[in-house]
Symmetry: C2
Subunit: 345 residues, 2 copies
């Protein structure tokens, strides 16, 4: 074993600015392998060697190359998160929680927002080993691609929206029960002529909330007629527009249930635009209980789903799966709760 520097005496810093473990080795007078071992700290290293190496890393400002590490370790330490409309305040809350949880676990987060190709690109990113796994918050009809990905054992978790019969980890709230809660509440208060504004027809959230609500209304003897059911793509503006048309009808409904809060805000805005208000002229109920729902400006009655908890749980499922790929898929469902506020009653 050499007595002096094992790694020769080249320039310590190249014009490129990149400092490699070899540079550190050279300065510390050890082999590159030893530097690597100091980094992964676990190994057997003589205390003085460790100090020498750490000093060299310090002076050179060594930072390992993420790509090289990813190649060797087969882990990128990056998680992808797919979202469809980050402008809907529900998603920032979920993202807030996801970034915190993943950050805590030492992962970075790649964000896909909107863009038709988001879901597909996220799956590609897994195959490129650019990300270790992906959390989908807005899965819908792309079941085929997802299925293919699953068969390749891609670590995937669905949160919020869920795909039936899809054998991956999934986290959702009990949307059917949540929808039913709303029906019960409205009927209890004698509001039986009501409208429903759904989101996207192929989103499980919208479907289940609608089903739970509409089925229960029917059970209770007050079926919601077709002409009082709408789809507004989870968009504030479309919900506002739809509600506007509803309000212009001769037989104005006495309550509107929206499949999420964001659309409920649109409904309230439609009322306000006409000089009307909730609950005076029409009750409005949302779903999610985003922070804004509790603001005095909206004071929205809504079904609370534990969004942040769901996010955390989804993140942890994914992290678990990265450690133990053969874990049986888990489907987790959180209970919901009706939060009564000023937009009703």
């Amino acid at each position: 074993m050499g007595l002096g520097r094992s790694e020769g005496d080249g320039p310590v810093v190249k014009e490129d600015g990149m400092v490699t473990s070899r540079d550190v080795a050279r300065l510390a007078g050890v082999s590159q392998a030893t530097v690597s071992r100091v980094m992964s700290s676990a190994a057997n290293i003589a205390p003085e060697t460790r100090l020498k190496v750490q000093a060299a890393m310090e002076t050179l400002g060594y930072v390992p190359h993420a790509g090289a590490q990813a190649m060797k370790t087969r882990r990128a330490r990056i998680i992808g998160v797919v979202v469809k409309d980050i402008t809907n305040p529900f998603y920032p809350e979920v993202l807030d929680e996801l970034t915190r949880e993943l950050d805590r676990a030492g992962y970075r987060v790649v964000l896909w927002n909107a863009g038709g190709g988001s879901h597909q690109d996220a799956l590609t990113a897994i195959r490129e080993r650019a990300v270790d796994g992906v959390i989908f918050t807005t899965a819908t009809g792309e079941t085929v691609e997802l299925q293919v990905a699953l068969e390749k054992k891609s670590p995937i978790v669905l949160i919020n929206r869920v795909v039936e019969g899809f054998d991956a980890d999934q986290v959702a709230s009990d949307n059917v029960a949540g929808g039913a809660l709303v029906a019960d509440y409205l009927c209890d208060h004698g509001r039986t002529q009501v409208a429903f504004i759904g989101g996207l027809p192929d989103a499980s959230t919208s479907r289940d909330r609608g089903r739970g609500f509409l089925d229960r209304m029917q059970e209770l003897g007050y079926p919601v007629p077709e002409e009082l059911r709408f789809q507004a793509d989870f968009s504030h503006d479309r919900a506002q527009h739809v509600t506007g048309k509803l309000l212009d009808r001769a037989d104005r409904p006495r309550a509107i249930f929206c499949a999420n809060d964001y659309m409920a805000f649109g409904a309230i805005d439609a009322l306000r635009r006409r000089g009307l208000s909730a609950p005076g002229d029409c009750w409005v109920i949302g779903y999610d209980d985003v922070d804004m729902a509790s603001w005095p400006s909206f004071d929205l009655t809504t079904v609370r789903q534990p969004s942040r908890e769901m996010a955390r749980s989804g993140a942890r499922m994914l992290l678990d799966r990265l450690v133990t790929p053969d874990l049986p898929p888990r489907h987790q469902q959180f209970p919901c709760k009706l939060i009564v506020r000023g937009s009703t009653g």
Copy 2:
């Protein structure tokens, strides 16, 4: 050159699932280098070879390994974006635009949200070559670290918040002028006893908007007394709280200017909580003109800054810099415009 397969005849798919360019080469009966050339399409390739290779890629489902590519090309094709509070609706709008623009350019986006270490970790990510550059939307006092990073020629762009004397690309709106606009408007309408709610004292946006506003009020002969100036950390809740205290005073101010819309919503909420309203009991003015500001529920008078355009511009600056690292730093400033709505006048 060899007649048969140049890459031997190992297994075509390993248990790992990873398909490498070597596997493709083997199947297509060419060398790994040729596969690589087909990928980078630019090179000289015989049409039939290209087809053979493409077919092989297709059947094997080849996707290049991001880490390996990053290592060779010294480009990760990832851009970092740092945000402080994604829950503030201003940032989702900026993010929406950034993700679109960067996606279009073939870049993925790593998001840092909150967390004291965000800024620092983003800089580390550059040195790890995990990202090619970073867009900071919430730069404040970490000037030293930024300066160090800059000296290492790290591609950095600041948008929204800006750091004086910092020689990197920066995109902002003319916040001083914007603040002055508000002062002019209020005085024009005889509202001279006014309060100011700032964000964070070390955020350029808050500082400049405050300065523009307060200086102009003074110039016009209506200095805003110290006890009507507040800091509410750009938070809805704190602004609501501060406004509450303002409203409880004997000499209630006749208008409140908030350094961003999010806080203005808090101010409006404070009014509503007390059964008061804008503009009846107190005018409220915000800054940013986020989508929500135009919702009937808020109908907020505000200073519009072209947030989305700023985001796009910042993204392009960064992309330019990646191509031409020695570009002289550009400071871009967008003009602002007062948007008068129902919360005043």
